[in-house]
């Protein structure tokens, strides 16, 4: 029986687990501890937990001060606010001095659901990855989330961790040979006709898309890109060379996210057709998560269509 669990819930457990092992970890939240799941740490280690109220800019700044004094500081809010509202603070108080602050953005993307466009951040990957020295992580499931939290703690410097609210299948938990390494993508399925590079909850959809494609005789390679920065350029370029076409898929604007990062990599080392699949540069809206995913085309079927288009572009390029 497949296990379904949101990355934010898995995150909360991991933070409590690793936070208990490392007394240097301090945690800030801005009145969303119940939602970001930092509350578990807060209940276990109240002396190292600081709920600073609805004031994200100050939260990031205080975390920077804590990090300057030797702590590993985690800050939490919805992605819209931790990456968006506090952008200047993340850039100037955290990343410019390269302080050990981990920016957690939960409720990222359309899968927030009914709260609507104001809370559906589809720009955070772009915002965070353009800051020099920032690491950007977007795990796809519970197992990968725990591994990402561990890696973020072990890495010295700023990090953005993108989490979702939706319950997603824990696909990497029992995957033979699965190994998480920061900065290295994971090949979930090999294929020769096209590569689908996915991040976050679109990884599960990409796996389903590969099954659709297989029935139509198309062999798709599936890459799980949990680290968007630093990007595993070697893996991406190898896939470009060996499959000749790429589809990127993400629960994010098609601009500046994983798709942008992949295009930047292949355009330099191995230009091949790249179809960027995601939210087509428009705001989200209120609705049930499942309905929104269909309305905005974030489905395995759409990914499969993009893959077929990519394959056809490859043929055109060869001709």
């Amino acid at each position: 029986m497949a296990e379904f669990i949101s990355t934010r819930v898995a995150y909360g457990r991991a933070l409590k687990k690793f936070g208990g092992q490392n007394p240097d970890i301090v945690v800030f939240d801005a009145d969303l501890a119940c939602c970001t799941k930092s509350e578990g740490f807060g209940q276990a280690f109240p002396e190292r937990f600081f709920n600073v109220g609805i004031a994200e800019a100050n939260m990031v700044g205080m975390a920077a001060g804590m990090a300057a004094a030797g702590k590993i500081a985690f800050v939490h809010s919805f992605a819209m606010f931790s990456a968006g509202r506090a952008y200047d603070q993340v850039r100037n108080s955290v990343c410019y001095p390269h302080l050990n602050v981990k920016i957690v953005g939960s409720h990222a993307g359309l899968s927030v659901g009914e709260d609507g466009a104001t809370h559906q951040c589809i720009e955070d990957i772009g915002l965070m990855r353009v800051i020099p020295g920032m690491t950007v992580l977007c795990p796809c499931d519970a197992n990968e989330t725990e591994a990402a939290v561990k890696a973020a703690i072990e890495q010295n410097g700023p990090c953005y961790l993108r989490l979702g609210r939706a319950e997603v299948e824990n696909i990497t938990a029992n995957l033979p040979g699965y190994h998480f390494e920061l900065g290295k993508g994971t090949t979930l399925a090999d294929g020769k006709d096209v590569t689908i590079a996915a991040t976050g909850l679109m990884v599960q959809n990409a796996v389903k898309a590969a099954e659709i494609l297989k029935k139509e005789g198309i062999s798709a390679r599936i890459l799980d890109i949990h680290t968007i920065k630093p990007l595993d350029t070697e893996l991406i370029v190898k896939a470009a060379k060996e499959t000749g076409a790429i589809v990127t898929t993400e629960e994010h604007n098609v601009l500046c996210g994983l798709g942008g990062a992949v295009c930047e990599a292949v355009s330099r080392y191995c230009p091949v057709p790249v179809i960027r699949h995601g939210v087509d540069d428009r705001f989200g809206k209120s609705g049930k998560y499942e309905d929104l995913m269909v309305r905005y085309g974030l489905t395995p079927e759409k990914i499969a269509e993009c893959a077929k288009e990519a394959v056809s572009l490859k043929a055109g390029q060869a001709g």
């Binding site: 004031a55 700044g61 205080m62 920077a64 702590k71 100037n92 108080s93």
Partner: protein, 281 residues
């Protein structure tokens, strides 16, 4: 504080002003007005009040810390740090130069003695509060100072930090507002009136002291008084003169970011040098 010590600090502050002028004149760039208004506060803090400072070990974990939230006033901070011994005074001539480590705004990675990178206004008090909170968590006795501009506190984040510092009872945090009454586009009164500052900070749960920000003894006494206050952070509202020490720059909006031409430089240098000689004599 003994009169002799006050006089020594006055000499140091005069040297800081002279080095400030030289640094800014060398690169024809910088913020001289606000640097001169904060020069006395920074001098007293670094040369008299801050504990466990060690220029040979700038990151000593037990040191008092200072966050120059008005991060553009490196024209004062860097001369103070150089005279304190963190780096050679002669390097001040490379201020803001492409090959120099002495950045335009305060920078903690490459400038020895700088405790926090600042420049984007309104962010320093939060960082200082975070450091003060870390001291509480680690049960260390160090104090944290934050120096803000009176224009800067128009930023909302300052007031977010003000609430948080009061919530966590950060009595090891001491803020200064350099109340020179001017900001880049005009007087604070016309751009965004912020008075009554004392009532505002008190309402946010702070212990508030008002001083003349050029009275060295008053600065020192206020820092001591802040140390006596338990359970809440202290904000010292320091009334200052923008451009202090150079007659034609004092209280003039244009000297926020302008730099002197050769004639003005010579006149300013003569004034500051005369003042230094007078104090030393």
């Amino acid at each position: 504080m003994e009169q002799k010590r006050v006089k020594e600090l006055a000499v140091t502050a005069a040297k800081v002003r002279l080095e400030c002028l030289e640094a800014i004149n060398a690169c024809h760039s910088g913020h001289i007005g606000g640097a001169l208004s904060a020069a006395d506060i920074l001098t007293v803090l670094y040369f008299e009040k801050m504990k466990n400072l060690d220029p040979e070990n700038p990151k000593n974990p037990d040191r008092d810390r200072l966050v120059l939230s008005k991060g553009h006033c490196t024209g004062a901070l860097y001369p103070v740090l150089a005279l304190k011994g963190y780096f050679p005074v002669k390097d001040l001539k490379t201020f803001r130069h492409i090959d120099s480590y002495l950045s335009g705004h305060a920078e903690m990675k490459h400038v020895p003695g700088v405790d926090m990178s600042t420049g984007s206004l309104g962010q320093g008090l939060s960082a200082a509060a975070g450091m003060a909170l870390a001291a509480k968590l680690d049960k260390k006795p160090y104090r944290v100072f934050a120096v803000m501009g009176d224009g800067e506190i128009e930023e909302g984040q300052i007031w977010e930090a003000a609430m948080a510092a009061a919530k966590y009872k950060l009595d090891n945090l001491v803020g200064f507002v350099d109340v020179n009454g001017l900001q880049i586009d005009g007087t604070t009164e016309e751009i965004m009136p912020s008075e009554p500052l004392d009532e505002k900070w008190e309402a946010f749960g702070w212990n508030v002291l008002k001083i003349d920000g050029h009275d060295l003894r008053a600065i020192s006494d206020a820092v001591d008084a802040a140390g006596e206050c338990s359970g809440k952070p202290t904000m010292i509202l320091a009334k200052t003169v923008k451009g202090k020490g150079i007659s034609f720059m004092e209280n003039k909006v244009m000297w926020h970011g302008n730099t002197p031409d050769e004639e003005e430089y010579q006149k300013a240098k003569a004034e500051l040098t005369a003042r230094l000689l007078e104090l030393e004599g």
